[in-house]
């Protein structure tokens, strides 16, 4: 016979005003197995806890029901107290008689509240009788982090984790780390040069003895769970031996073949053996195998001839490596909506209609024009330049419904950079709303208008076309209520910031969710902004949604702190609310495996003594299992049950309803 204690909390008057707690205690005492009941003013208070523990010991209780506030409030408190009194914490259950009873049934005669409290308490008692002792699950932690994406968010995360003393691998798909930030000229609102603040961080990451850079690499496969990930990484063939290459540049100097530079967004050419930009980290070139004549048809090979240390190796192949990690940081960044999306803005056909990112390259001292603002078509200096904001943003019909958030600021910056470089030029900005929420952001935009003379027009551009060698921009100024036409020399589209093309593939590899725009889902948008539903996988930067550099960096640091917390001990403990398979009744139909949202179910072989496989069984990986219980209902042979929410427990509660 169990020895159950029932503690009915009055919660001051919160419960007592509509529930006769003493009556509940008295009546409950009559139930089989209940040996101790009491009503108390504040169960959660220190004296309450003390008497609670004392009662457990004195009455040798082996099961506790606390009828009090929601378990979301104090379940942990009472379980901890029960544990302190020598009980298994999972032998303590809460009946929610405040949020779901006394506070929602205002009957002053206490009849309604008392009756419902009796029911709720009795159901909890019956459920408790079927409780089993559970022990917290401990899992070992591999103290090594993987950062996917070597942009500013990823670099920051890696540096902070490495500074915390743990090994980090950065996987970057491009030949260099740096990401989109490496393309920017100056950064708002302080106007410091992007390269000047980014390059030192890139170099620091390269030189850090705890950080390894896997550039020109991609994550192929992720197995395992928090603390114990096993990740397969594809290192694409660079055709250059990284261990011997000195980055002298002789090879790309001499290479006779050119292609459009991805980094310069088609504004200039690069060689076929190349580093994406001069400050690349690592400063080791790769060969574009889709264009190299030596690789394609065994002709040329000049680079190999001029290479001093003989680092060129045309036989190199893609390599798969599998490594162990305890945490994964996803910092895969963003893409920009292609210009070709905008039919009415010239369809990407008018050469001098460029994107904001292309403007960054034009304005950048290390860009194709050395920082001079020149038209891509003829190299002349544009005297009238029109910036069109919200190109694709806030356009549910043909673009994306959200605001890309950073365009208002960078467009203001562009007008300033333009005025600083073309003193006699005029910049026009078409905007829908100026969104400059951020420290010193509004002042920055005002500066662009008041000091640098940008003409802001509140309206959207309907159409851009060429006429007599000019680009005609036809839009509206809604503030004056008129149509506006500007003869421009160049047009800059603030194209929408969008999720990566590869976003869904990466999400599926990692088992994380994404929204309708294919940005990754945070565990909780406010309170867990860098966690995902998959424990041990964290998010940083624009793969979550549009954000600027300060935010991306903050997120990089935030995931580092989460990772370091995870790495702070050798083992981690978690709630034992996980599924369990009855090995006797499992018939290996794998319905559970298909239903499980966490890939937490494995196929396990059962072998006889000779090592022959006698049958297959489903087993639950407690590290991955999140305890949703979907598998329990999917199981036809009722071979799976969920600890803490077993069929027995639920039926017991129903039976006394």
């Amino acid at each position: 016979m169990p020895r159950i204690g029932v503690f009915v909390c009055q919660c001051g008057n919160n419960i007592e005003s509509t529930v006769d707690t003493q009556k509940v205690a008295d009546e409950t005492k009559k139930l089989p197995g209940v040996v101790h009941t009491e009503s108390y003013k504040f169960m959660c208070s220190s004296p309450g806890q003390e008497s609670f523990k004392k009662a457990i010991k004195e009455n040798k209780l082996d099961g506790i029901v606390v009828s009090a506030c929601s378990p979301h409030m104090h379940e942990k408190t009472f379980r901890r107290a029960a544990e302190a009194a020598g009980l298994n914490p999972f032998q303590c259950e809460i009946a929610n008689i405040r949020e779901q009873c006394s506070w929602v049934h205002h009957d002053p005669t206490k009849k309604v509240g008392t009756a419902k409290t009796m029911d709720l308490t009795r159901m909890t008692i019956q459920r408790l009788k079927k409780n089993r002792d559970l022990t917290k699950i401990t899992i070992p932690v591999t103290k090594r982090a993987l950062v996917i994406g070597g942009g500013i968010a990823g670099i920051q995360a890696a540096l902070d984790i490495a500074d915390g003393g743990h090994e980090v691998v950065i996987v970057e798909k491009e030949p260099s780390i740096g990401g989109n930030m490496a393309r920017l000229s100056e950064t708002f609102p302080t106007m410091d040069c992007s390269q000047c603040i980014l390059t030192p961080k890139m170099v620091e990451a390269e030189l850090h003895d705890k950080i390894s850079l896997y550039t020109y690499s991609e994550v192929e496969k992720v197995d395992g769970y928090i603390g114990n990930f096993s990740v397969t990484i594809k290192k694409k063939a660079k055709f250059v031996d990284e261990s011997t290459c000195t980055g002298c540049g002789e090879c790309w100097e001499k290479c006779p073949f050119k292609a459009d530079s991805e980094f310069e967004l088609g504004l200039s050419k690069r060689k076929v053996i190349y580093t994406p930009f001069p400050q690349a980290v690592p400063n080791i070139p790769v060969i574009d195998k889709t264009r190299c004549p030596k690789i394609l048809k065994d002709k040329c090979g000049l680079c190999a001839k001029v290479c001093g240390p003989q680092s060129i190796d045309f036989t190199q192949e893609d390599q798969l490596v599998t490594e162990e990690f305890g945490a994964i940081v996803v910092a895969t960044g963003y893409d920009l909506m292609p210009k070709s999306k905008f039919g009415e803005y010239g369809y990407g056909k008018i050469t001098d209609v460029i994107s904001g990112m292309q403007f960054e390259r034009l304005a950048s001292a290390s860009g194709p024009t050395g920082g001079a603002i020149k038209r891509p078509s003829d190299g002349t200096e544009p005297k009238n330049i029109v910036f069109i904001q919200c190109a694709g943003s806030r356009d549910e019909k043909r673009g994306v419904s959200y605001c890309s958030k950073i365009c208002c600021m960078y467009t203001a910056k562009h007008t300033m950079l333009y005025r600083h470089k073309v003193h006699d030029g005029q910049a026009y900005v078409f905007y829908m709303d100026i969104r400059s929420g951020g420290k010193r952001y509004e002042e920055f935009v005002r500066g662009a208008i008041e000091h640098d003379g940008a003409m802001y027009l509140r309206g959207r551009v309907s159409r851009v076309y060429e006429k007599d060698g000019k680009i005609i921009v036809q839009g509206a100024d809604t503030l004056s209520g008129s149509q506006v036409e500007i003869e421009a020399d160049m047009v800059v589209l603030a194209t929408a910031l969008v999720s990566r093309d590869s976003a869904t593939t990466v999400a599926q590899t990692l088992g994380i969710g994404y929204d309708k725009d294919k940005f990754y889902n945070e565990y909780h948008p406010k309170l867990k902004p860098v966690e995902t539903v998959t424990a041990g996988v964290f998010l940083a930067g624009t793969c979550v949604g549009p954000m600027d550099i300060p935010e991306s960096v903050s997120q990089g640091s935030a995931v580092a702190s989460k990772t370091l917390a995870l790495f702070s001990s050798d083992k981690m403990a978690r709630e034992p609310i996980t599924a369990d398979v009855n090995t006797q009744t499992c018939n290996a139909c794998w319905d559970c495996l298909n239903a499980c949202p966490y890939v937490a179910i494995d196929k396990t072989e059962v072998k006889d003594r000779k090592g022959n496989v006698v049958k297959m069984l489903a087993t639950v990986n407690a590290g991955l299992c999140q305890g949703c219980g979907v598998c329990v209902c999917a199981c036809r042979s009722k071979a799976i049950d969920l600890n803490g929410y077993t069929d027995e427990q639920v039926y017991a509660a129903i039976a006394t309803f």
């Binding site: 949020e99 506070w103 929602v104 009796m118 969920l642 929410y645 639920v650 129903i654």
Partner: protein
Amino acid sequence: MSEEAKMESTSSFEPKIMAFVCNWCTYAGADLAGTSRMEYRPNVRIVKLPCTGRIDPLFIIKAFENGADGVLVSGCHPGDCHYTTGNYHARRRWIAFKDLLDFTGIDMNRVHFSWVSASEAIKWVELINNVTDEISAMGPFMDFKALNRGKPESNEEK
């Protein structure tokens, strides 16, 4: 009929309704109704489960067998499941289960399926009131009562 008379006529029968709800959305929504001090009909008894995906259709039948006059199932809105897809499993299972339940002779109007998020306290209150009214109007569910013999220490207080 006056409001009072209405109260009179319905108070003669107080239905018992069992609610199976998920821990993350609806349970929290019901908690919020409490912290907001809203008031609703006292006929519902909640059984908390981690996810609607954990709700075995047999729970529903068992509830009827044990004296429920109505059953309510509620979880996170589609797309908002704490466990990513649990509520989709529940929904799919529910669609298949509906016909079976109908076949067993349970009036489908006695079983309600709803989505209530953690912030939808008002929706929860309205849901409970509506369901209670509806089940009240239908009268007690007697068909399974005979099945439930030898029930343990049950509701002598009632």
